[in-house]
Symmetry: C2
Subunit: 144 residues, 2 copies
DNA sequence: TTCTTTGCAAATTGTTTGCATGCTC
DNA sequence: GAGCATGCAAACAATTTGCAAAGAA
């Protein structure tokens, strides 16, 4: 699930259509290098190609279907504005630190969380999305 | 920081006022036994005392100042509607599992997270709010 | 009396929806 | 050609803001 044609195939197999808009949204999300809000994606697509037919509702709807297909995931810890990320199954799992002061995010790997994931599953039967985990706090600069 | 008068003092010391509304909001939050959205708090206060002068904006503003004072914390992982909790420093730290299927929440203690907290601080200088951590996923019933 | 807080209503922001048209399969 | 997808504009929901009046120190 890592290049355009795979996505195209996945869409077709589930009876959906592979459209220009979806393709551009995915590209913006994948090559944008990180997390993007719906609005950022909208602006990014529009900027790269002002003639591209794209609207906010399309972005929301596309993100929604891609989420259902598990190709895109919505990050937690961004109060007020949903933030999305391309779900790359090959990449190492990383987690997000979201600063409540400046809103900036830092990524880091926390291998120890894998153990917690299985502990949760074992004790509660809950299947946690550790992958989407966002941890809020204060970054070094904002701690003053 | 566990009874009414402490809150009153904390407010006074920071040059703020101790008002009926703030008192009732806190009571609703503390004795409500768990997490509450702004709207739930509003309804709860209004229900307990229909004559109480309270408005939604007041709830939001009060929660905001209480958050700044670290007396109340906003939980992550509740997309769309912010959820708040009384920050009880004496209580054991618990964490939240939020089901993306039914929206239900489960609380559990995860002592292992304390180690992760210090790891984050050590490696990134970030001060994480592990306390507010919300983990999304699918609960046992919704996994079908 | 001074300065904070409140209520009300209006404004914002982020997101969703209905419907006619366009495009993919 | 059939049915999913799109754009537009309107609908929504949650939260914020301006301003005059009320309340705490």
């Amino acid at each position: 699930m890592s290049c355009e044609s795979d996505v195209e195939q996945a869409l077709r197999e589930s009876g959906r259509r592979f459209t220009m808009q979806r393709s551009k949204i995915l590209t913006a999300l994948r090559h944008g290098g990180g997390h993007r809000t719906a609005d950022e994606i909208f602006e990014q697509v529009r900027e790269e190609d002002p003639h591209a037919g794209i609207s906010r509702s399309t972005v929301y709807r596309a993100l929604d279907t891609l989420k259902q297909m598990r190709l895109v995931s919505e990050l937690d810890s961004h109060p007020g504005t949903a933030t999305f990320e391309w779900t790359d199954r090959e990449a190492p799992r990383h987690h997000h630190l979201v600063c409540r002061g400046c809103g900036g995010t830092v990524e880091l790997e926390l291998p120890a969380l894998a153990a917690i994931e299985s502990e949760i599953e074992r004790t509660t039967g809950f299947d946690p999305d550790i992958r989407h985990l966002g941890i809020t706090g204060l970054c070094e600069q904002c701690r003053d």
